[in-house]
Amino acid sequence: MNRLRWRARLFAIALALPVTALAQAVSVVDFSGRTVALDAPARRIVALAPHSVENLFSAGAGGALVGVVNGSDYPPPARGLPQVGSFNAYSLEAIASVNPDLIVMWGSGNGAGTLGKLEVLGIPVYVSEPRQLADIPRDIRALGVLAGTSETGEARALRLEQALAELRLRYGSRTPIRVLYEIWNDPLQTINGDHLISQVLRLCGGRNIFADVASLAPRVNIESVLVLAPEAIVASGMSDSRPQWLDEWRRYPALPAVRNNGLFFVHPDLLERPTARVLQGAQSLCEQLDTLRH
């Protein structure tokens, strides 16, 4: 009996060997500095953040997704994928049950201890944490490598880098424009210089007036906005329409942004998610800001 089992196992190994030798081992360094090494490109991927889902699709690996979190609404095919919870309340059991060979987690979003909990499952984990503009193509590239679609990933990343570089070349050194990026009006909330959006502003030749504030998404005083006198106010709001509260600034007619029609809207998903769509957001922002330069 025992012998039979041994023989079966040997046979299985003999069968498996050439397959593993054929499949190419892949490895990348993720955003937490860990090396993620797979014996073969991932075929079954679970992504724990909407931006990771989007970047996987960009990298040509959308077909390998077997699990996503709520809110993964772009591109449209992502909407039909099985859900394993939300980014801050995912189910380890649901993740294990779809039998993934790679988990893409969100470094700061999934909560402390997530990495440890996922590693217990024995499934390789890639940590995604794009904080800089340059991190977005890097993320797409790395995901392409891990999914064995590095050609698509590389091409997409390169295209994104080139397009962003073009925008920077075109607008980056034009007359600087002081910008308030208004996440929300009540309470008045903005972002500081460390935020990705602030980098997009810079790319367009804008300057975040609250770049030096200590916290990433500070609540700020309306008086200081009047003093810093932004030439443009860019609102994102929560939906795809221009928030009405943007016009509340018209109460302050002396504000340069009001005087010169510098009240702009950019869809929040295009600027607030670290994905390839940031290019559309940047384009829209650059063009709108540029209308103030005449």
């Binding site: 609540r219 929560m238 329409s241």
Partner: protein, 352 residues
């Protein structure tokens, strides 16, 4: 008899002194609040700004800052502080419980849940509003519903039981908290941030429409509650004693609870939850001048207004241009003061 008389006399003198001191300090604090901010303005600019904004001429930046930003904000803080302080004093007297504050009967938790509901479910609908935002309406409705529910739970054919009402308030608070947390699972990152910012409270949404709502409710409350001072004093003796004194306790209770619910509901709706003012301000006043509600109610209103005006001024300037949540400051200023008073009076109780 003479000794009691003299003690009473001293206490009355002290009460008059405190009321006068508070009444004098409040305008000073409000002036300070007008003078301080992210932008430094000289006294001349402040006067000019006030004049310009009263004249309806708001072109100058200093006039804008004073008239459109600081003045409504300072006034809103004063009104909210007064409402919270007086409501707290009335609640503690009504429930004859030093731990009672308006949040104990479920107003605050209900209002928070109402606001969270609007934030999460409203989503993109949160656009067409300016003055009384949809979130505020949600908060007010939530607070009012919670009180009605708690009151119904505590009322039976034999009357309303204060103990049941407190317990029901705690139960509703827990339930609303749980539902709120449940909602937060449905919320995306943005909504979560908004809910948490809203919960921390703040005066930065101050504008004239809000101030108008606050003034109407505040004026009504500040006039109505002191009329129940005698009832609250009689209730300190005990409920049956109050009945023997010929007081319609049930009617007074309904009136008081309604006013407190309206006042606190409005304050949560307009400026979010600001804990601590309603709980500790009445205690501080009571320790200084005793439990006579004829003094306690107005003095708590004045002290609450002062605390909130000062706290809001600090919230604006400590980390400018970043705003601190005002609740952090009220706790940091008020708690050490409260603790030092507690240490001086080990045997402090409601009966004093």
């Amino acid at each position: 008899m003479w000794i009691i008389n003299q003690a009473g006399h001293r206490r009355r003198a002290r009460a008059r002194l405190l009321l006068a001191a508070l009444a004098a300090a409040l305008p000073l604090c409000m002036l300070l609040g007008l003078a301080c901010g992210a932008v430094s303005l000289g006294p001349a600019e402040i006067v000019a700004g006030l004049q310009a904004s009263f004249a309806g001429d708001a072109a100058e930046q200093s006039a804008l800052i004073i008239g459109q930003i600081r003045l409504p904000r300072v006034l809103l803080a004063a009104l909210m502080g007064a409402i919270l302080g007086m409501s707290g004093a009335a609640t503690q007297g009504l429930f004859r419980n030093p731990l009672a504050d308006p949040s104990l009967i479920g107003v605050t938790a209900g209002a928070s849940l109402g606001a969270a509901l609007v934030i999460v479910l409203g989503g993109g609908l949160l656009q067409g509003y300016s003055a009384l935002s949809a979130v505020s309406v949600g908060a007010f409705a939530g607070g009012a519903l919670a009180v009605v529910f708690v009151y119904r739970l505590a009322t039976s054919s034999s009357g309303t039981s204060v103990a049941t009402m407190l317990l029901a308030g705690i139960a509703i608070t827990a339930l609303a908290g749980a539902l709120g947390s449940l909602l937060e699972f449905r919320a995306d990152n943005d909504m979560l941030r908004r809910i948490s910012l809203w919960k921390m409270g703040g005066m930065d949404g101050a504008n004239y429409p809000r101030l108008l709502v606050a003034s109407l409710v505040g004026a009504a409350l500040l006039l109505a509650l002191p009329r129940h001072a005698g009832t609250l004093n009689a209730l300190l003796l005990g409920e049956s004693e109050a009945r023997h004194l010929g007081i319609d306790v049930d009617r007074a209770r309904i009136a008081l609870i309604t006013w407190v619910a309206v006042g606190v509901g409005t304050s949560v709706a307009l400026v979010g939850t600001i804990a601590f003012v309603g709980l500790v301000v009445p205690h501080i006043v009571r320790m200084l001048v005793g439990p006579d509600h004829r003094v306690l109610l107005p003095a708590s209103a004045l002290a609450g207004a002062i605390l909130l005006v000062v706290a809001d001024t600090l919230a604006r300037i400590v980390l400018a241009p970043t705003e601190l949540p005002v609740g952090i400051i009220t706790a940091i200023i008020g708690v050490p003061f409260f603790i030092s008073l507690l240490r001086q009076r080990h045997h402090y109780g409601m009966q004093s």
